[in-house]
Amino acid sequence: MATEGNIHARPIAIQPAPAGPYVHEAHHPWLQHHFDSMTQQAEASTLGMWVFLVTEIMFFGGLFMAYLVYRHASPSGFQEASHHLNIYWGTANTAILIISSLTMALAVRSAQTSQPRGTQVLFLFLTIVLGLAFLGIKAIEYTDKFKDRIVPGPNFHWEGTHAKAAEQFYSLYFAMTGLHALHMIIGVGIMSVILVMAWWRIFDEEYYTPVEVAGLYWHFVDIVWIFLFPLLYLIGRHYHAG
């Protein structure tokens, strides 16, 4: 920096800390000044994340509401349409997300218990890999839907008795799983940042709020899938065509 030679640069006088109640006391480097303690700071972050997740509940809730209304209007059409989804991919993806929630929870725990950074990074890495595996399977499923021409639009083609309801079902299928997949992509991005922070040895038993809060997001996305899976994949299993 060439500030020393810059005549416009104002010298910064370092003031001694004022006496009395304003003394800058020693504190944890990650404690922000508007919080009294690390615990208070962590609780505020957790609460803030939950307020955000409540808005997310309502965000996905709107789509679940639409599903409920349209399924109520044509229940057998939805069953016929659901039958075309691949239950094996759906079940595999449910299992993958549940495993990723376990690795996520263990990542938080490893930070909470001041495990070496290798352990923290490993669990976060596994979470990311499982998230990407989920997205990979979703891509295979979407490709199949395009091949089978059951993507809503002018080329939608349905061999069955409830073409209109099937198109409504697949509109909701793509909207709901698409929004969910977008959340997964964002989640993988968040976890990548958290992984780098873990590599920098930022997290220990004193400070692990970013892992905890990112974990809340990841588990929330898992919960959305826990409801999407039966509502989309399982309603047509006992359906007898006709």
Partner: protein
């Protein structure tokens, strides 16, 4: 900081319960139980969600304020479903009210 550290065995137990719930809901889907299919399916999904919220998301050990915020989220969701469906379910009950 005084965050609650749950034993690893608890996480494994919740994980196994979630997998068991998934297996159960897939198996149940192949039996034709009429309207009960939906009840079973949503009951299992709700239990799985509750396990994730309470244990994986640590709400079990969170502050009362967090409990209230979490509960309010689902409460508002139920208001949306409830009030909207009272409309859709009751359409056509009185002549001339369908659409």
């Amino acid at each position: 900081m005084s965050g609650h550290v749950a034993p690893k065995t608890m996480y494994y137990a919740v994980f196994l319960a979630l997998l068991a719930g998934t297996g159960l809901t897939v198996a149940a889907a192949f039996f034709d139980m009429g309207a009960m299919n939906n009840v079973v399916m949503l009951a299992i999904a709700s239990i799985k969600a509750l396990l994730v919220i309470l244990f994986f998301m640590h709400v079990r050990w969170s502050t009362r304020l967090t409990w209230v915020v979490v509960a309010s989220g689902f409460f508002w969701l139920l208001i949306m479903f409830g009030l909207t469906m009272t409309d859709y379910f009751s359409r056509g009950w009185v002549e001339g009210t369908w659409r």
